[in-house]
């Protein structure tokens, strides 16, 4: 039995990385999927791969007008939203002395304003559907930020506060709309591959990233997508406001260390 039969889902950052993995898994589980992304070429290609289960919506998550148009487009194509997955994100590590105010604002804008607008407009659509599930992709860096993640960690913490307040609000209003976050550690995404490739010793850096986790490896996109699928599905019907770690145990580890920690 497919876990998302008949569900309508929108996935931001859906053209690549974790978002694309989620889009493929959701479609395979019976959902109709709107791939929302700023990368029209990759988004359109993935939508085509999903066939009649997929459409592409152009979306810059920091633009309120884009959100309104994208959700209207999904409603027109499929109907009101059952599921929103917010996977759009940027991460450019820098410590406090090196990071510029522009970088701070860029991170806060994508993760903070993006999550704010996404939840705001998704709830509007989900109320028409009568129920819904929002899954925000956060990070281990919001829980225990390393020194290089002053912008990213703070922006993900802002997103986490939105997740929790939305969970509380929707619960208290009796909306039957749940809102949770998933916190991956290092995952084999294009972003990670890019870090590794640009390092002087890619294999050495990969081993450092893997060794940070008690499981001593890096996650696959599918492993993160499974957590998103679980939270999005009715299997998680009593879960809201939860921060779900998919982190190989790194947040339980007492002495994290190493480059990128």
């Amino acid at each position: 039995m497919a876990r998302l039969n008949g569900k309508i889902a929108m996935i931001t950052g859906g053209a690549a990385g974790i978002g694309a993995g989620v889009a493929r898994m959701f479609a395979a589980e019976g959902a109709r999927v709107a791939i929302a992304d700023i990368d029209a070429a990759a988004g359109t290609a993935l939508a085509a791969e999903l066939g009649e289960r997929g459409i592409f919506c152009p979306l810059d998550v920091t633009s309120e007008g884009d959100w309104q148009r994208a959700i209207a487009q999904v409603e027109e194509a499929f109907g009101p939203l059952d599921i929103l997955v917010q996977s759009a994100g940027i991460s450019r590590p820098a410590h406090i002395e090196a990071a510029s105010l522009d970088e701070w604002r860029a991170h806060m804008s994508v993760h903070g304003e993006g999550a704010f607008l996404g939840c705001k407009y998704a709830i509007q659509s989900m109320k028409k559907a009568g129920a819904g599930s929002i899954v925000n992709i956060s990070s281990v860096e919001s829980i225990r930020p390393g020194p290089l993640f002053v912008c990213y960690g703070a922006a993900k913490a802002a997103q986490d506060a939105i997740t929790k307040t939305v969970a509380l609000h929707c619960g208290e209003q009796g909306y039957n709309i749940r809102c949770n976050s998933v916190h991956p550690a290092a995952t084999y995404t294009p972003l990670l591959e890019q870090y590794l490739k640009s390092a002087p010793d890619p294999a050495g850096l990969e081993a450092i990233y893997a060794g940070m986790q008690p499981l001593n490896r890096i996650a696959t996109v599918e492993e993160v997508a499974h957590a998103v699928l679980f939270l999005a599905s009715d299997d998680a019907s009593f879960m809201t406001g939860h921060q779900m770690y998919v982190d190989g145990g790194v947040l339980a580890k007492p002495y994290p260390k190493g480059e990128g920690a």
């Binding site: 039995m1 497919a2 929790k164 969970a167 509380l168 929707c170 619960g171 208290e172 009796g174 991956p184 986790q213 008690p214 499981l215 001593n216 996650a219 696959t220 492993e223 993160v224 499974h226 957590a227 699928l229 679980f230 299997d235 998680a236 019907s237 009593f238 879960m239 809201t240 406001g241 939860h242 779900m244 770690y245 998919v246 982190d247 190989g248 145990g249 947040l251 339980a252 580890k253 007492p254």
Partner: protein, 252 residues
């Protein structure tokens, strides 16, 4: 679609009623061979028989989790029957009458801690020893929303569930490289026989419901789905986590 615990051997403690029973039934439907372990052998046997009648595989096992020898014997019995141990849900737990700290009894402390804390340790010890010989496994310890929050009058229970959370995370770090995943599951208030016996006044039930932003109690089936997720290969990168299924209570 293939069943996701096909032929996996699972030990569930406190399995004869409530959340444990819901886990046993769900895991069996997903193809697991289930050791239904409970302090009451009659109740364990009855549930195991019901699972077999429904087409599943299960055996009843007498197990007082406060006795290391009984826990070791439960694991040994599963290994003797089915050859291995893949997953465990350490669910056995009790409550004692609510009272503020200054009114509590020493005997109640010892009884509750023995089941809720020592029992989880003894269970993990036996399970991990077996799993190390097989190269891995997945353990789910029943923690609670009261691993994060407090509840006046429930200080022993709260302390026991904080302890379970701490042991769970420590064990996950210790055995991660051995391929054993160890997670905690934190339910809110769930409509179980334990809760229904402890709280009978409708106003008190309504007050319990209102603790959760979703303004309802959870069902054993909802917790069983979360336990299944953690136990299964879908959670292959999740260890040392406390998965909270509490209608939003701890987000408050």
């Amino acid at each position: 679609m293939s069943r996701e615990l096909e032929n996996k051997v699972v030990l569930i403690t406190g399995a004869a009623s409530g959340i444990g029973a819901a886990c046993a039934e769900l895991f069996a439907r997903e193809g697991a061979r289930v050791g239904v372990a409970d302090v009451s052998l009659d109740a364990a046997d009855a549930l195991a028989a019901a699972i077999r009648e429904a087409g599943g595989e299960a055996i009843g096992i007498a197990c007082d989790v406060t006795r290391g020898a009984q826990v070791d014997a439960a694991v040994a019995q599963l290994v003797a029957t089915w050859g291995r141990l893949d997953c465990a849900v350490n669910n056995a737990g009790i409550t004692v009458p609510l009272a503020p700290i200054a009114e509590l009894e020493e005997a109640d402390y010892e009884r509750l801690m023995a089941v809720n804390v020592k029992g989880v340790w003894l269970s993990m010890r036996a399970e991990i020893r077996q799993m190390l010989t097989q190269g891995g496994g997945s353990i789910v310890n029943m923690a609670s929303a009261l691993s994060h929050k407090v509840h006046p009058g429930a200080s022993f229970y709260v302390a026991s569930k904080f302890a379970v959370a701490g042991m769970t995370r420590t064990a996950a770090v210790e055995y991660g490289e051995s391929g054993i995943r160890i997670n905690g599951l934190c339910p809110g208030n769930i409509r179980t026989p334990m809760l229904e016996n402890a709280v009978t006044d409708p106003a008190a039930v309504a007050a319990l419901q209102a603790l959760h932003p979703m303004n309802r109690l959870g069902t054993p089936g909802e917790i069983a789905q979360a336990a299944l997720w953690l136990a299964s290969d879908r959670a292959s990168f999740t260890t040392g986590a406390l998965l909270t299924a509490d209608g939003g209570w701890t987000a408050r």
